[in-house]
């Protein structure tokens, strides 16, 4: 995607909600190659609300990934391993 010229972009999208659904399925890797190409290379360059939505969706996903992962406490991991080994030797 190129950086679009905002003065040439539509400021309203009549299909915004449908576009958002499509955008999400693209980012989730669930859209077809053709849907992806049309949306990313064409629609996003001419539609401001969808362009903004795209960046917002990407930012939220990144934030989730960096802020919402907790690692298992090492002692818990060890405890689970030990219990399974006990089960095996029974």
């Amino acid at each position: 995607m190129n950086i679009p010229d905002s003065s040439k972009m539509k400021q309203d999208c009549p299909e915004q909600n449908e576009c958002l659904k499509l955008l999400q399925s693209i980012l989730d890797g669930e859209a077809t190659a053709e849907q992806k190409k049309n949306f990313m290379e064409k629609h996003l360059e001419e539609c401001m609300p969808c362009y903004k939505n795209y960046h917002l969706e990407v930012a939220i996903r990144q934030l989730l990934k960096t802020k919402c992962s907790k690692e298992a406490p090492q002692e818990l991991v060890d405890e689970i391993k030990t219990k399974v080994i006990q089960n095996l030797s029974r």
Partner: protein, 194 residues
């Protein structure tokens, strides 16, 4: 469990499957347990129960199939059977009701929070985590499975025992609700138009 032909692993094979295929997912599994229960002790118990159960039913796991999805499904079922009942939160939110409410088209028009990336970039604390935790557990779950764990819709449908169309719509609602929460935080951060 999936209807797969029963395996007959030797003790050594069991130990190998467990350490090579199950243990690598332990951090993702812990995070899922924690986000479901929202309690470190419950998460610990849930994780341990799940791993011991996975070991007990290891003959139902076919090598070469998706171990992570298999484990997540066991964890989700254990949570529903053992934890949701005793959970403190009045979890008897009627799902159907929530779902049909959020599926009405009106809600889409209401929920178009004008949240900006700039506001998000300033959320350096626990805002996103709190926003996620504040969602109803079923909405929280789809976001975790998709955005944190990268499951495909089809895998999510199997883990959650729901149709793929429901995965899709629930995910869309969940994301709208998350954005709604985030724009409340953005306002508190002083982004008035966020």
């Amino acid at each position: 469990m999936e209807e797969t032909p029963k395996q007959h692993y030797t003790e050594a094979e069991k130990a190998k499957v467990f350490s090579d295929e199950f243990m690598p997912h332990i951090n993702s599994m812990y995070n899922f347990a924690y986000r479901l229960t929202l309690d470190a002790d419950d998460a610990k118990d849930l994780l341990q129960d799940t791993y011991l159960k996975a070991f007990r039913f290891i003959d139902s796991f076919q090598q070469g199939t998706n171990a992570k999805a298999w484990l997540f499904r066991i964890l989700k079922n254990s949570f529903i059977n053992d934890y949701r009942k005793k959970s403190k939160e009045p979890s008897k939110v009627d799902y159907q009701e929530v779902e049909s409410y959020y599926n009405s088209e009106d809600v889409d028009r209401q929920i178009t929070p004008d949240l900006r990336v700039e506001a998000l970039n300033n959320m350096i604390g626990d805002e996103i985590s709190n926003a996620l935790n504040a969602l109803d557990v079923d909405f929280r779950t789809v976001i975790i499975l998709c955005d944190l764990e990268g499951f495909k819709y089809e895998e999510m449908a199997k883990i959650l025992d729901i149709p793929i169309g429901t995965v899709r719509s629930r995910l869309h609602r969940a994301r709208n609700l998350l954005k709604e929460k985030l724009s409340e935080y953005a306002k508190q951060l002083g982004y008035n138009n966020a």
